[in-house]
Structure formats: C-alpha cells, structure tokens
C-alpha cells in the first residue's frame, strides 16, 4: 500500500524547477502536501527504511538523488533497511 501524498511529492520533484525549489526551501514545498506526521518526520530524518515501504522504489531512489544524498549513502541505508525489495518485485510470484 502506497502513501499517496508522499508519492505525489516525490513524483512532482521530477521537474528541475520543483527540485531546485525543494533544495532551496524544503519547508515551503512540504507545506503544500498533507503529509501524515510520521511520514513528515521520516522525510526530515532522511529515514530511508521508514519511507521505503510507502513509496515506489524508483521514486524513492530518485528522491534521494534530488535531496542530495550520495548514491553510496542511499545504498548503505536501503541495504540495512530490512526492506526485502519493491512491491512490484514481491508481487511477481503472486501475479505469475
């Protein structure tokens, strides 16, 4: 199950203008999305493990690129997250 507004935030940050605004003033951008408090806290703390189950893996990875986290850091965090892979992957067996 995805968090709609978290996903929408990450989706919208794909445009270079939105990404630049986010890097300049995170709070102003975040204020436009009705994020749940725990989701908002996970963003504030760059908590990869908490965000991973709530959003598509492609969007997750893209977000941390935009947010300025080095890819090596992202990889370390996702690997220690306890996350076993994206929903798309986990659904494979089921979708046969």
């Amino acid at each position: 199950m995805r968090d709609y507004w978290l996903s929408k935030l990450f989706f919208d940050l794909q445009t270079p203008t939105a990404a630049a605004e986010y890097r300049a003033d995170r709070e102003a951008v975040l204020a436009r999305y009705p994020l749940k408090p725990d989701v908002r806290a996970a963003i504030a703390n760059d908590n990869v493990a908490a965000l991973a189950p709530l959003v598509n893996a492609y969007l997750l990875r893209f977000y941390f690129l935009v947010a300025g986290m080095p890819e090596a850091d992202f990889l370390k965090r996702i690997r220690s997250s306890g996350c076993t892979g994206s929903a798309a992957t986990r659904k494979e067996a089921h979708h046969g």
Binding site: A57, F62, I78, R79, G85, S86, A88, T89, E92, G96
Partner: protein, 278 residues
C-alpha cells in the same frame, strides 16, 4: 495487409546516456557495437511504423490512474522530459493514430483491457534505444506501455498473449504498411531496492536460452515456469522482461538471434540486445 517486418529488443538503462562520458572505453565500445547492429537491422527492415513496447517510468502516469497496459493513439508524441535527455534529437515524434487505434480496438475485441492515450511523452525507456540505434529515418512510433514499475502489472502469460494479439492486429490492418516492433528494458536489474547494482547473470542467460527455444506450447510453458520461479529474485527492473515477452509473443515462432549480452554493473543492468525472426 500490413506486414510485420522485424521484432527486436534492447535494454535501456539510463546510465547509458547519463554516465556515457565516464563509462569505461570498453563498455562504450561494446554498447556502440550492439546498438549500431540493432540500428542496422531495423533500418534494413525499412519499417514505416515502429511499435515500441516500454514501461513508463513515472513520466505520464501516477497513482491517480495507473494502467496495466496503455496504447498511444496520438498523431504525435513528445520527446523525453528527463533533463539529462535534453540532447535527444526529436522534440516531437510522429505517431500512427490509425494503426494504434486499430491495435487498441483489436485488443478490446480479444479480451484485453488497455487504456489509451492521445498525449504521451516518450521517456528514456523509448528514447535511449531509438537514439543509440540511430534510426534514419525515424519511423512513426506506436507506443505500447506495459506497466512494470508498480502494480498493477500484467502477468507474463498475458504479455505473451498481448504480443500475439498485436501481431494479429498488424496483419489485419487494412492498409499496406511495413511495421516493426521493438521491446525495451531489462534484463535483470534493481532500482532503489537493496539489491540495486546486482545483476543476475545466470537468470539472464537462462532466460535468453528459453527465448531462443521458440514459442511452441511446450517452450512457452517452460519459459513461464522458469519466470515464475526466478523473475521475483532478479530485481524490480527485471519486471521489464514483460516487454521482451510481448515481443516473443508477437514473433510466435522459432528464430531468436542474440546480438549482444553482457552483465554491465557499471550501468546497473544485464544488457541484452536481440532480434527475432519474422
């Protein structure tokens, strides 16, 4: 009266373009050779229209309305919106609305429930192979988006059946047209998940063997059993093998020619380029 004149597949890893300048010379040379040969074959088939089967990587669709399958029926399509693809030579690409509508209607008549779009931007999944293969002239493009990034994903079985239906639709199109089909994506890879960077070379090579074994009922069942067992562990990007399966279903006969395969961790993908006999 339209003819299916060629069926192809190629990986589309973004780093092929984003990191081109910093890739090892050997990687660049291997990629150039493989895509040049792909382009040579497509150009030689002289298609008027190229059906391109690709995922959408969060460019056209969002969770508001995420389709399993979408057929692009527009007169034109926009070029890739990714900033790192700004140098892609086409801001607009011609579509083929009549053939696309015919394929969509045929699909609905044959038990598929696609969405249709009159207005698509074609992302790197479409444009990296088109660019690197250096198609000249660029044929009209009929985009078929198969969702491989976030459920709902069509099942592998249905992707093979869809390819079969697309081939039948082409053959029943009432105008003389030369039509080729290019599937993009795969092979094994992971994006944004713990296995990112890992490539399941054994999966890729065994998958290629199954594709080479043709599309008899028996070969297809063997392939589907293999995928049920192994696709889930080959990375979320391996879901894009659905596009190859669609091409395989369109070919529907023995005759698969591997142009290139190598595991390329430097671009995060098992990189395959192939052609089917038609």
């Amino acid at each position: 009266m339209a003819d299916l004149v060629g069926i192809y597949a190629a990986s589309h890893g973004p780093l092929i373009v984003r990191n081109w300048d910093v890739l090892p010379a050997a990687t660049r040379s291997t990629l150039t050779t493989a895509f040049t040969e792909l382009g040579r074959r497509i150009n030689a088939a002289r298609p008027d229209v190229l059906i391109v089967i690709s995922p959408d990587h969060w460019v056209n669709f969002f969770l508001d309305n995420l389709p399993s399958i979408c057929i692009g029926v527009g007169e034109t399509h926009a070029g890739p919106p990714e900033p790192w693809l700004a140098a892609f030579p086409h801001k607009q690409m011609a579509g083929h609305a009549a053939l696309a509508q015919h394929i969509a209607a045929h699909a609905c008549d044959h038990d598929f429930e696609p969405s249709v779009s009159y207005k698509l931007a074609l992302d790197h999944g479409f444009c990296i192979p088109l660019w690197k293969a250096n198609l000249d002239p660029l044929p009209a493009i009929v985009p078929v988006i198969i969702n491989t990034v976030e459920p709902p994903l069509p099942s592998p079985t249905r992707c093979i059946a869809l390819g079969n239906a697309i081939a039948a639709a082409v053959k029943s199109f009432p105008e003389p047209l030369r039509v080729a089909l290019l599937a993009t994506g795969g092979m094994s890879h992971s994006i944004g998940e713990p296995t990112m960077g890992a490539i399941d070379e054994a999966f890729d090579r065994e998958c290629l063997q199954h594709l080479a074994a043709g599309n008899s009922d028996e070969s297809r069942n063997t392939l589907l059993k293999f995928l049920a067992a192994r696709l889930p562990a080959a990375g979320n990007g391996a879901a894009e093998m659905r596009n190859w399966l669609t091409a395989h279903g369109a070919a529907g006969a023995v005759g698969f020619d591997l142009i290139h395969y190598s595991a390329m961790p430097e671009i995060y993908v098992g990189c395959g380029v192939a052609a089917w006999a038609v």
